[in-house]
């Protein structure tokens, strides 16, 4: 845990210095909402359609973060430096997944109000608590799978292509659960909390992939 915090702290500091990842994610999400606003030719949307637009947009914006996750480490020798330290290598998984989770959370802090302003018909207020819980579970899935995929893709020349190609199929179950759970929250007769089964599916999905990532991550770091 201590090592993960050291690496996470360094990653946050690097992002604050360079602003290479978060602004791109936020700009992408807001631009996509603007595109949907005009492409759907509707002043507002709600229910399942709104849930689909929100979930897909956050997912694609998140993939920008996945692509950038290990770039500084790969290009500037951070991988080797970490491998030379007498530390538990799985701490890198925890640190990178936590960094991606934080980036996604910051993205949503900006993207949700933008979504409500540009596209959403019903008020977001009553369902906000439920939506935050749902998105937090979805963010864990993107963070864990994204970190795993990014660690694979960063060693390849076509990493910008490889990461989405591997990550998207793996994330489809999480996408379905998030969109299905968010649909009723974004409808005119808003539910306050998502159905338990979608939360359970997401939590189980997070757990399974966290264990899988922990089991294989060390092997991904080997030469």
């Amino acid at each position: 845990m201590r090592t993960a915090l050291i690496v996470l702290r360094k990653d946050i500091l690097l992002e604050l210095r360079t602003f290479e990842t978060l602004p791109a994610m936020i700009l992408f999400a807001v631009s996509t909402f603007v595109v949907f606003h005009f492409a759907l030719n509707r002043s507002s949307i709600g229910g399942q359609l709104a849930a689909g637009v929100l979930t897909a947009t956050v997912l694609f914006a998140g993939l920008l973060g996945v692509n950038r996750l290990f770039v500084a480490d790969r290009e500037q020798g951070g991988f080797d430096a970490f491998m030379l330290a007498p530390v538990d290598r799985s701490a890198l998984l925890l640190a990178k997944a936590s960094a991606l989770f934080i980036f996604l959370a910051v993205l949503e802090v900006v993207a949700l109000p933008a979504f409500a302003l540009l596209l959403l018909g019903p008020s977001l207020g009553p369902a906000l608590g439920g939506l935050i819980v749902l998105l937090a579970l979805a963010d864990v899935a993107v963070a864990v799978i994204g970190t795993l995929v990014s660690a694979i893709a960063v060693h390849t020349r076509a990493r910008d292509l490889i990461a989405p190609i591997i990550a998207l199929p793996l994330l489809i179950p999480a996408l379905i659960a998030t969109a299905e759970g968010a649909g009723p929250l974004l409808s005119a007769h808003a539910h306050r909390f998502p159905e338990g089964r979608w939360l359970a599916i997401l939590a189980l999905y997070d757990l399974v992939f966290a264990l899988l990532a922990h089991a294989v991550f060390d092997f991904l770091l080997e030469d």
Partner: protein, 229 residues
């Protein structure tokens, strides 16, 4: 068999990259406190040998022992006791020298006061809070030396350690990476004369094979010439 085991023992080391064999059955032993100079032309396998000893690459055949620990299986027991200075400085360009060294100090559980001590020794105190990307290559190399020696390693693996350093900087860093460091050292150099002055043993690599391995004072000019032909 000697009473004290060598700090580094390599027997029949082979390492490939895809179809290309970069090291072929290389064997060498370095006693504790001694300096081994690895010489050879570009692509001879010098850097690969150092990366294997640093646990960054796994051997494909042969046996490698560093500080009594077999690699790669006991790599975790070696990492904190080895200092590796490679071609890349392993520093984040957008962080400052102080931030970079503090990051490494935390990873190696070294007190942060060591960072200030090293910045002083390397003559980097005035530039300690500028981003690394704004530093000259020589200053980056000084900083890389600080990173490699931060945790008081017992073995130093130095790939062209004097690259980009002016003579003054070389003198400043002498206590860290020179003979005065009192560590076991493996160094590569494209300046055979300078390497011979620093070394006790010399390993000549030619296309990944050990062309010769002998005491530094027994290496002849003809052997060196053949190495770079």
């Amino acid at each position: 068999m000697s009473a004290v085991a060598p700090a580094i023992e390599v027997r029949g080391l082979t390492r490939r990259f895809g179809e290309r064999t970069v090291l072929r059955e290389v064997s060498v032993a370095v006693p504790r406190g001694a300096t081994l100079a690895v010489l050879g032309r570009n692509g001879a396998g010098k850097s690969t040998l150092l990366r294997v000893l640093a646990t960054l690459l796994s051997p494909h055949a042969g046996e490698v022992t560093v500080l009594g620990e077999s690699l790669p299986s006991r790599g975790f027991a070696v990492r904190g006791r080895v200092g590796y200075l490679g071609h890349d400085p392993l520093l984040y360009r957008d962080l400052t020298p102080r931030e970079n060294l503090r990051y490494h100090a935390r990873l190696h559980r070294v007190p942060l006061t060591r960072v200030d001590e090293l910045l002083e020794i390397a003559g980097m105190r005035l530039r300690a809070d500028d981003p690394v990307r704004t530093l000259s290559q020589g200053m980056v190399q000084r900083l890389a030396v600080c990173r490699a020696t931060l945790h008081h390693p017992q073995v130093l693996l130095l790939d062209e350690p004097r690259a980009n350093l002016d003579p003054g900087a070389g003198d400043l860093l002498e206590p860290l990476i020179g003979r005065r460091s009192e560590t076991t050292r493996v160094l590569t150099s494209h300046d055979p004369a300078a390497a011979l002055r620093e070394a006790d043993l010399v390993l000549g690599l030619y296309d990944g094979r050990a062309a010769f391995c002998s005491q530094a004072d027994q290496v002849g000019a003809s052997e060196l010439e053949a190495l770079y032909r």
